[in-house]
């Protein structure tokens, strides 16, 4: 019987970029270096790391938007690379930037998504209203162009899009970044309900320690593309001898979550691989 929602083994991903024209140099950025972890079915797993640590790359690999250089992934038992079509039917994703057709209304954007997943109009609209209501979004805004909505409202519409088809697996890439405290609480409460009522497996990346501690049963620390530690919030604090998760991250990663070294110097991620 399937017990793992996400299984990642030895995942590596790097990006190369050519610089210069005549004497061009190729620089390679290692975004993920031998990352391995597991998330149980129905578990909420948090991934904490500074900007550029590899969180979004990992989410993109799991969303079938990036092909890894090496390593393998199983999502709900389906292998990546290989079974992308099966994975896409079962995964919802929310990214930090709410990417929509901004001239279209929330209704039009969400209906478009619903049709993409083969849903009928009437059930899709019912489901949308349920989710938006649970997220605390005023139904009257439903027909307004998204460009007229605040960032918080747009993000709630993005979450609604990810949940339209009730996916058993959710990939949330900093879903509450930029939200006001009330909107943040609304989203967090909704995610808790989703886990307890539907048993949804959730992978959440965040900078927000309190949010991660509240929502996630286990947490992984990622820095410079490596998963450097994982466990419950208490375990991570105990292992690092720190009182807060923030301090635990600094102690284990040697850098702050805002991307600075503990000493204050900015980290370089790129390594020159050759001319």
């Amino acid at each position: 019987m399937l017990s793992l929602g996400i299984e990642v083994r030895g995942l590596c991903k790097s990006f190369s970029k050519r610089k210069g024209f005549i004497r061009s140099r190729r620089t390679v950025a290692h975004a993920l270096r031998d990352v391995s972890f597991e998330v149980g079915l129905g578990e909420t797993y948090g991934l904490l790391g500074p900007n550029g640590s590899g969180k979004s790359t990992l989410i993109r690999v799991l969303s079938t938007l990036l092909v890894p250089d090496s390593g393998c992934v199983r999502l709900l038992g389906f292998r990546l690379p290989g079974e992308e079509a099966e994975v896409r039917r079962r995964v919802g994703r929310v990214s930090v930037d709410a990417a929509f057709y901004k001239k279209l209304s929330a209704r039009e954007n969400l209906l478009y998504s619903a049709f993409l997943y083969g849903m009928e109009r009437a059930p899709a609209e019912r489901r949308v209203m349920e989710i938006l209501e649970a997220l605390g979004l005023d139904g009257e805004k439903f027909t307004d162009p998204l460009e007229e909505m605040s960032r918080g409202m747009q993000q709630k519409v993005a979450i609604t899009r990810a949940l339209l088809v009730n996916p058993p697996l959710l990939l949330l890439d900093e879903p509450t970044t930029g939200l006001d405290p009330k909107s943040k609480r609304d989203v967090q409460t909704f995610l808790e309900a989703l886990r307890s009522e539907h048993g949804t497996t959730i992978l959440l990346t965040s900078h927000d320690m309190a949010e991660t501690e509240r929502l996630c049963s286990r947490i992984g620390f990622i820095a410079k593309g490596r998963l450097i530690a994982e466990g419950t919030a208490d375990e991570l604090k105990r292992v690092s001898g720190a009182e807060t998760l923030d301090d635990a991250f600094i102690a284990l990663a040697g850098e702050k979550l805002d991307g600075e070294e503990a000493g204050g110097k900015k980290k370089e991620e790129e390594a020159v691989a050759g001319a």
Binding site: R60, L65, V67, A99, F100, K103, L104, L116, Y117, G118
Partner: protein, 271 residues
């Protein structure tokens, strides 16, 4: 099947809603296209040459249709990159064939409506009797040539994956070359000899040749009855072959570039 139709409809629905939201721009661009077409056709009127007038009118109508089919498909990925929605489209459980079929359906419907408006607009400026044209045959030629242009559009649609701005620029250059070599407003024989071979590989060349026969442009200054469709057998065969080759080729190129983009991380939002 119903599921597939709904997914195809998703793209038609999205593009229709976007067109509706940008309707004032659609009106402006269509107005410009009507005026631009009229200025071209009036050259024939000024020369007092009905044959030239009709030849220009066919060119304007056909280019108005086929270039928009090409442009809408070719730019579909550019629009998605600008909006940042490309990743969401690519991670939806929709095959690329359905995706591009939906985009192509809307592009064709939009181009047909626009071409009808342009022809209606031109008839306000020019007094031409088109009652003897073989309209049924013209519809068949437009349908077959649209398929060939859809194939070209699919191939060009991958360019913005490499670079949103450069891709859009390259698409416009490609479209310009098609306009130059296809004999839209003049016979291809007037092109420099070194350029003429390009007209052989442009589907617009054959579509124009067929439509000019079907609309009733004879060798002399007098209007003649539109030719039967059988008179365009050669053009239709070439156009069908071009469609049969260019659509699968466009899908294949698209699939290759999509795989490359997923290896190199080029799907990420830019622009």
């Amino acid at each position: 099947m119903e599921h597939v139709l709904r997914q195809t409809w998703a793209f038609f629905f999205r593009d229709y809603q976007l067109t509706r939201r940008y309707f004032s721009w659609v009106v402006v661009f269509t107005f410009y296209a009507v005026v631009n077409s009229a200025t071209v056709v009036l050259i024939g009127v000024a020369a007092g040459d009905r044959r030239l007038t009709l030849m220009l009118m066919v060119g304007v109508m056909l280019w108005g249709l086929l270039s928009v089919v090409f442009q809408e498909i070719a730019n579909s990925i550019t629009y998605e990159r600008w909006e940042g929605t490309l990743e969401y489209t690519f991670m939806a459980p929709v095959s690329r064939v359905i995706h591009l079929a939906g985009v192509s359906l809307f592009a064709t419907a939009y181009a047909v409506v626009r071409a009808i408006v342009i022809v209606a607009g031109m008839l306000l400026f020019v007094d031409l009797d088109l009652s003897r044209a073989n309209w049924g045959g013209i519809v068949v030629v437009l349908g077959v040539s649209s398929a060939a242009f859809i194939g070209l559009g699919l191939t060009a649609a991958v360019l913005p994956v490499f670079s949103p701005e450069r891709g859009a620029e390259a698409t416009n250059i490609f479209q310009g070359v098609l306009l130059l070599v296809s004999g839209v407003y003049y016979p291809v024989e007037v092109l420099p000899r070194w350029l003429q071979p390009l007209s052989v590989v442009s589907p617009a060349t054959y579509a124009l040749s067929a439509c000019r026969k079907l609309v009733g442009i004879g060798d002399g200054p007098e209007m003649v009855a539109g030719a039967p469709l059988s008179a365009c057998a050669y053009e239709l065969t070439v156009l069908t072959l071009m469609g049969l080759v260019s659509i699968p080729l466009g899908l294949y190129v698209f699939a290759l570039v999509e795989r490359w983009a997923k290896r190199t991380g080029k799907l990420k939002r830019t622009g």
